[in-house]
């Protein structure tokens, strides 16, 4: 685990704080739909007459493509220590370690989540809003039902809360708090399977220079009942 705070801002003013009023509102929000805008990386303006305005801090139209970038290299990160711990726990609920592969947090997926919600680009704005709301909401919900913040709950209670959220996400992926879990799960699993360890686990065996390409091996063709090629 990387506990360095380099490049990380202290919790900003725009982050949700949980006071009593907000908590009550969020409990109400658990059953009320929050409409979610379509994520559109290129903005709504399609005719080409204008480029969407951006906050400063993107990598620009001609970045170094060869460099290996780390979260925090290009823009300041968002999460405070408590939020970061919570995201780590959630990451590992979505992608836990098992017999064949490590957990999401051990691969730094929580730092990617921080990078993502801190992005200066319009495509991540909705995710930032919903994820930060969701992080606050899940603690409120944990306190309401179990009397403790989410990270302090026993693993099976954490899992149960995620299961409930997963069902809500399936029922409607753009209604809060299902939308929160849907986006979190997409990002965590996507970030996981784009690491070398995740690619190995899912069964991707490429991206290795080869002298030749001979098509699928015989056992693959056999399984498909296809004749040798």
């Amino acid at each position: 685990m990387n506990d360095s705070t380099d490049g990380r801002e202290p919790a900003g003013k725009d982050l949700p704080r949980v006071d009593r009023r907000t908590a009550l509102r969020w409990m109400g929000a658990a059953t009320a739909a929050i409409p979610v805008l379509e994520r559109e990386a290129l903005g709504a303006e399609r005719s080409g007459t204008r480029r969407p305005r951006l906050p400063a801090g993107g990598y620009g139209p001609d970045p170094d493509l060869l460099r290996s970038y780390q979260p925090g290299d290009l823009w300041s990160l968002t999460l405070n220590d408590a939020q970061r711990r919570l995201v780590m726990v959630l990451c590992d609920l979505v992608m836990p370690a098992d017999e064949s592969s490590p957990s999401a947090s051990s691969l730094g997926v929580h730092d990617f989540i921080d990078e993502w919600i801190s992005s200066p680009y319009p495509g991540q704005v909705e995710d930032r809003r919903i994820l930060l709301e969701g992080l606050a909401w899940i603690d409120v919900e944990a306190i309401r039902s179990e009397g403790e913040v989410f990270v302090s709950l026993p693993a099976e209670k954490q899992f149960k809360m995620c299961q409930a959220l997963a069902r809500r996400a399936k029922a409607s992926s753009n209604t809060f708090p299902g939308s929160f879990f849907y986006r979190l799960r997409n990002l965590v699993a996507g970030a996981y399977y784009t690491t070398p360890e995740g690619m190995e686990d899912i069964g991707y065996r490429g991206n290795t220079p080869q002298d030749r390409w001979d098509g699928p091996p015989p056992e693959v063709l056999e399984k498909l009942n296809l004749p040798p090629q």
């Binding site: 969407p52 493509l65 996400a169 879990f181 784009t194 498909l224």
Partner: protein, 602 residues
């Protein structure tokens, strides 16, 4: 190194070329090999695929896992810099606000143009594709036959290096023997598709792509392409030996540092620069072609993007190849007393007859491909197999003219950020899958998805064109284009047929659909105009000066020493990708230009 600044320009060039992509690059190559003094002006910066390509980088090394942002509109690792649908200060407009009538325009502002950003699919137009009007009663015939262009297809393919096979399929021509490189072996899903599509009467065959599956024959090809020209033979042989065969990993859209995948910079401009006869001026936004008192093209006016200053370059011949619509814009903006409506526009047809590929993909999950033994399926990364239009001989039984081809997209590809939600619809979980269950399901279903993407023909019509916007100007004050776009019933019926046929093939593979094919809603299915980045036309070639802008040699009728060297001259879109035809036409136009200049006709 003859990369020059505006102050280092020669007094006068034999040929000035605007644009460094497939058309401009090919012209620069041919002309410099013949000893002509050439200036290429490029609106973007010099880009070196050898040292700048992220060949084997994984998504976790890129910001935001490499997803598209307004700065990198096709994703972080795509070989497009300062490029995209939206460029700051360089707008374009659409006349209609209706979503179905929008045209999207991808601009590539870098050396090598759009050849950097390309799947490398390289198919020849077939004999029928040159006879659209005669065969279908719509659109236009080309002012040449397939046989007229075939020798230059062979030459372009030998120069570029293209893999493929000989199939003998009606209207999807074979190359001459010995021209193509061997195609890669099929992946598991491609073999399955081939076996299951066969009973439907549909052939799945190797696609043709500009990727070296083996090194080019540097002993044989240079002599065939440059008979009697030892300098050209030597320079081409040297460059061919610098190109390695594919390493069977990493996506061609990133570019290719080993030069296995073709791009204009590595294959055309590198040997052209070695002649010493090419000057290359980057960051030059050309906005006017100038005329002399005789009404002949005399040069260009451009803005040096770094200083913001205007400069001129002079030449005996001007070639415009800025990407079809950019060339149209340049003609329309080159107004004079002689040509008040734009240069070479006495026919009034500059900007008219814009066409694009008719496209949409269908996807399914194939249970047979689940849980396959783990293996590397990168192959030549990207398309390997396709279905050439199989009903060319039975067109009259269909309710639409023109055909389409279908490209297979399958395989155990490198996962990207979107894979997190990929398994939702096949999952057995009662919610969205997560945790151990997601990991198990991901292992099972990864690699079991198959897509088929159709791309079809479009005949020119009166509703699709561009003109200068009367109000909007770009950051340099140059008037911008305003597009008009409308799919006709022909294209909509074609898309319905595509959707049905793609679904039928996927069903034959045992596919499960999670998004129903859109055969009944073609207007919903069809991709927006411009989206496939195959747009051509706007300065079409033809047999008559009153009905076209250029002749078959891409010379404008009005100004014979002005050549249109890109896709703007296409009188229509075939069911083949345009790039190989752009290269063959440019090659042929350049050979003709050399002859004409030697004869003193230009």
């Amino acid at each position: 190194m003859p990369i020059v600044s505006p102050k280092q320009l020669r007094e006068r060039y034999d040929v000035i070329i605007v644009g460094s992509g497939a058309g401009g690059g090919q012209m620069a190559y041919t002309l410099t090999m013949e000893g002509l003094k050439v200036l290429v002006l490029e609106a973007g910066r010099v880009y070196d695929p050898v040292s700048e390509t992220p060949m084997l980088q994984t998504w976790n090394q890129a910001p935001l896992r490499g997803v598209a942002t307004p700065d990198k509109q096709y994703g972080f690792y795509d070989a497009s810099i300062e490029s995209g649908w939206e460029l700051p200060g360089e707008p374009y407009t659409n006349a209609s606000s209706e979503p179905s009538r929008q045209f999207r325009w991808w601009r590539q502002r870098m050396l090598g143009g759009r050849t950097n950003h390309w799947g490398r699919v390289s198919l020849r137009n077939g004999p029928y594709d040159f006879k659209t009007r005669s065969r279908q009663g719509i659109g236009f015939d080309w002012p040449m036959t397939y046989q007229d262009l075939a020798p230059w297809y062979d030459k372009a393919e030998m120069l570029v290096g293209i893999f493929g096979d000989q199939e003998g399929i009606e209207n999807s021509p074979d190359s001459s023997p010995g021209v193509l490189l061997p195609p890669p072996k099929f992946r598991a899903g491609e073999i399955l598709a081939r076996e299951r599509a066969r009973p439907l009467g549909i052939s799945v065959v190797p696609v043709h792509r500009a990727v070296l599956t083996q090194q080019q024959d540097a002993w044989r090809i240079p002599g065939r392409l440059h008979p009697g020209n030892p300098r050209a033979q030597r320079l081409l042989a040297e460059n061919m030996r610098l190109r390695l065969k594919c390493l069977f990993a990493t996506d061609c859209h990133r570019g290719c540092s080993i030069k296995a995948a073709f791009d204009s910079t590595s294959v055309y401009l590198a040997p052209a620069l070695k002649t010493g006869d090419l000057d290359l001026l980057p960051q030059a936004m050309v906005h006017q072609v100038t005329l002399n008192a005789m009404g002949k093209a005399s040069g260009v006016v451009f803005i040096d993007k770094q200083s913001g200053r205007e400069h001129r370059a002079r030449g005996r011949v001007v070639v415009i190849a800025g990407g079809s619509q950019e060339s149209v814009r340049l003609l329309l903006n080159s107004q004079s007393n002689r040509f008040p409506d734009g240069l070479a526009n006495s026919s009034g047809l500059v900007g008219k007859y814009l066409t694009d590929s008719v496209a949409r993909r269908v996807s399914a999950q194939i249970p047979a491909l689940e849980n396959l033994p783990l293996h590397n399926e990168d192959g030549v990364v990207g398309q390997q197999a396709y279905m050439p239009w199989w009903l060319a001989g039975e067109q009259e039984t269909l309710d639409f003219p023109g055909g389409y081809k279908a490209l297979l997209v399958s395989g155990r590809k490198m996962p990207n950020l979107n894979i997190g939600r990929r398994f939702d619809q096949v999952s057995q979980a009662d919610g969205i899958p997560f945790g151990r269950q997601l990991k198990e399901e991901a292992r099972r279903y990864y690699g079991s998805f198959q897509s088929i993407g159709a791309q079809g023909a479009m005949a020119a019509n009166d509703d699709c064109y561009c003109e200068l916007d009367p109000v909007v100007k770009d950051r340099w004050g140059i008037p911008v284009l305003r597009f008009h776009w409308k799919w006709s019933e022909d294209e909509l019926r074609q898309v319905s047929h595509q959707q049905r046929a793609m679904a039928e093939i996927l069903e034959a593979m045992g596919g499960r659909f999670f998004k129903r094919p859109l055969a009944e809603q073609p207007e919903k299915a069809i991709r927006q105009g411009g989206t496939i980045i195959h747009e051509v036309g706007g300065a079409i070639m033809g047999a008559h000066p009153s009905k076209s802008v250029t002749n078959q040699w891409c010379q404008t009728w009005d100004v014979p020493n002005l050549i249109v060297g890109d896709g703007a001259t296409f009188p229509g879109t075939a069911d083949k990708n345009p790039t190989l035809t752009i290269m063959a036409l440019a090659y042929r136009a350049a050979d003709h230009l050399v002859d004409e200049m030697k004869k003193g006709n230009l």
